[in-house]
């Protein structure tokens, strides 16, 4: 029997706004009738969102096609979500994860909840998992702390900036970092990074248990997978060109991760102890 959530062969995708304190989060639910798992996608940060949007959406669709329900969203103050980016803090973005996890895990019928994050999103997902949210965790290229994620974003932007600059006009990433550390806010790809964001980023860290999959699984007694994305995964990983690399076939990345989510969900559903 055809799944009622397929409309003329298409999967049902419901876009909406989720109210949070002082803002609305833009969300897209890739709805599945009887999901074997539900996944909250915690995506790339700020300008990284735009360059990796297509592979991120296709990843959500590939999961939904395999009967895994997905909720993806934009961080507060970024993309289609409302709110002023400059006023946002890691605490706000952590709250987004908590609220959406709760909403997703309350959906019926019940299914295991997997938190999945990329880059800064991996940090947010990892910390939420550490706080007890989610039944399983999938991290793609988690940084050790938010400052690492900000530096990666900054370096990518500086690389693009330098195309348009010659000789002494060219500034390096170190020059910009020096400005931030001297207390000046910095505009990166259309987002003004306040000094507070930079300063707070050093202390916004991934819990030590995530040093390896084994230590994380032993600590949390729940399935954890950590994947370091290579250049081949650009723009989800480092580098990549908009309009070129984001149009590539990523099935080599999707397939094993999708299989892992399905296996983790089966383990959880059957009550098999993980550790």
């Amino acid at each position: 029997m055809q799944n009622q959530f397929h409309l003329n062969g298409r999967l049902q995708e419901l876009a909406g706004y989720f109210p949070v304190s002082g803002a609305h989060l833009y969300t897209v639910l890739h709805e599945v009738e009887k999901p074997l798992a539900r996944v909250l996608l915690v995506g790339p940060f700020a300008s990284e969102r735009h360059i990796s949007y297509l592979p991120w959406v296709r990843w959500a669709r590939s999961l939904a096609a395999d009967n895994i329900e997905v909720l993806r969203y934009d961080y507060r103050g970024i993309g289609e979500s409302t709110g002023d980016f400059e006023l946002m803090t890691f605490s706000d973005w952590s709250q987004d994860v908590r609220l959406l996890s709760a909403w997703l895990s309350d959906r019926v019928p019940h299914a295991p909840l997997v938190l999945h994050g990329l880059g800064m999103g991996a940090l947010l997902a990892g910390r939420a998992f550490d706080a007890g949210l989610g039944d399983a965790l999938l991290l793609w290229s988690p940084p050790a702390n938010a400052n690492q994620a900000l530096r990666a974003t900054l370096k990518r932007w500086v690389g693009l900036e330098q195309i348009f600059k010659f000789g002494p006009e060219r500034k390096s990433a170190s020059d910009y970092i020096r400005e931030l550390e001297q207390g000046a806010s910095l505009e990166v790809d259309g987002y003004r990074w306040p000094v507070k964001l930079w300063r707070d980023s050093f202390d916004f860290t991934l819990p030590a248990a995530f040093e390896s999959e084994e230590s994380a699984a032993a600590t949390y007694n729940r399935p954890v997978r950590i994947v370091k994305l290579t250049r081949e995964a650009a723009p989800l990983g480092k580098g990549g060109l908009v309009g070129h690399d984001d149009l590539k076939d990523f099935n080599w990345l999707y397939a094993p991760n999708r299989a892992w989510i399905a296996a983790a969900a089966a383990q959880i559903s059957h009550g098999i102890a993980y550790a």
Binding site: R10, E13, L14, A15, G16, Y17, F18, P19, H24, T27, V28, L29, S47, R49, H50, I51, Y53, L54, V57, I78, G79, E80, T82, F85, E161, Q162, I163, F164, K165, F166, G167, R170, E187, D189, G190, Y191, R192, L241, V242, G243, H244, D246, L247, K248
Partner: protein
């Protein structure tokens, strides 16, 4: 989940063979909730299309900023994702740049414009595009009777190659970094200038003739067009880099005497126009141009328009728009 947040409302366009998703920014004077106001808008709206493969928010969420602002000035604004892009269904071509260059997204964009005009009771739409999006906007404008105007940010009129040979890329990088490289780069530019002079006014071999034909069709029909340029690589102000063909000068001449083409140079912008100074300058220019070309029916400036005039007082780009809101280097004046 809600379908609307403040003045923003999520929309779906069906009936184009693929489901498109987008965001509607309700105009300032439209207090009605979702759906109620759709048949009463009457005037002109603004439709944003994707720039290459970027989602409809665009770089630095600049399209969100402009759409909010345009709606604040009283014009309904719509941002849609074309097929296979952003949240819309369909598959984007793996050769997206080539597809855009041949007008591959034009028919869907034109179809979307038609649907929006019908659904929202508009008189027509101004189509807004940046870079590759400007190419799609221009192709769509030529294919779309509902198109009342165009806003084109850094359009290009040639057929670009996505990836340059690695060796050439490395040489360019070196030329940007080193003094010797800069000297050699300048020499290369002068050689190209000589070659350009020998060619006379002939178009370069990689000119996009189909796009230029669309430009001629739309401009000659006196469709209002606002074309904004950001500083280019090694360019001297609004003029192209030494040795590069002056496409803007060419298309302004091609537009003819009866055209309503306004060209503006946004010195504070980078190519993305997403940097804060650049996006604000663009915002002021658009507001002035819309007010001049598509005056609102109630005829009185909204609260935001008054603020616009004040904030633009000391800004050269905004002064330009106030002094000559419809003619930032008008084609008729001969550029």
């Amino acid at each position: 989940m809600l379908e609307a947040a403040g003045k923003r409302e999520l929309i779906v366009l069906d009936g184009l063979g693929v489901r498109l998703r987008g965001t509607y920014h309700r105009p300032a004077d439209c207090s009605s909730e979702s759906g109620v106001s759709r048949t009463k808008l009457n005037g002109t709206g603004v439709l944003f299309v994707n720039s290459l493969s970027l989602p409809r928010a665009a770089s630095g969420d600049s399209a969100v900023f402009w759409a909010d602002s345009i709606a604040g000035h009283g014009y309904p604004a719509f941002r849609i994702d074309l097929p296979g892009l952003g949240d819309s269904e369909g598959e984007a071509s793996p050769d997206l740049l080539d597809s855009i260059g041949s007008g591959g997204l034009a028919s869907v964009a034109a179809g979307a414009a038609k649907q929006l005009v019908e659904q929202f009771g508009l008189s027509g739409l101004v189509i807004f595009g940046h870079c590759a999006g400007a190419v799609s906007a221009l192709f769509a404008g030529a294919a779309c009777p509902e198109c009342e105007g165009l806003i084109l940010l850094d359009p290009y009129f040639h057929l670009p190659h996505f990836k340059r040979p690695k060796m050439r890329q490395q040489m360019s990088d070196w030329a940007r970094r080193s003094k010797v490289g800069a000297v050699l780069s300048n020499g290369y530019d002068r050689a190209r200038k000589l070659r350009l002079a020998l060619r006379g006014s002939a178009l370069p071999g990689n000119a996009n003739s189909a796009l230029l034909a669309c430009w001629k069709q739309v401009a000659a029909a006196a469709t209002p067009i606002l074309l904004l340029k950001a500083p280019g690589i090694k360019a001297q102000g609004p003029k192209p880099r030494v040795g590069e063909f002056d496409y803007i000068g060419y298309v302004v001449k091609l537009a003819g005497r009866k055209s309503r083409v306004s060209v503006g140079f946004v010195e504070s912008a980078d190519h993305s126009f997403a940097n804060l100074a650049g996006r604000e300058a663009v915002d002021r220019l658009i507001a002035g141009w819309l007010a001049a070309q598509f005056p609102l029916q109630n005829g009185s400036p909204g609260k935001n328009d008054i603020a616009l005039l004040r904030t633009g007082k000391n800004d050269s780009e905004a002064r330009q728009s106030q002094a000559a809101p419809a003619g930032l280097g008008c084609a008729r004046e001969g550029r």
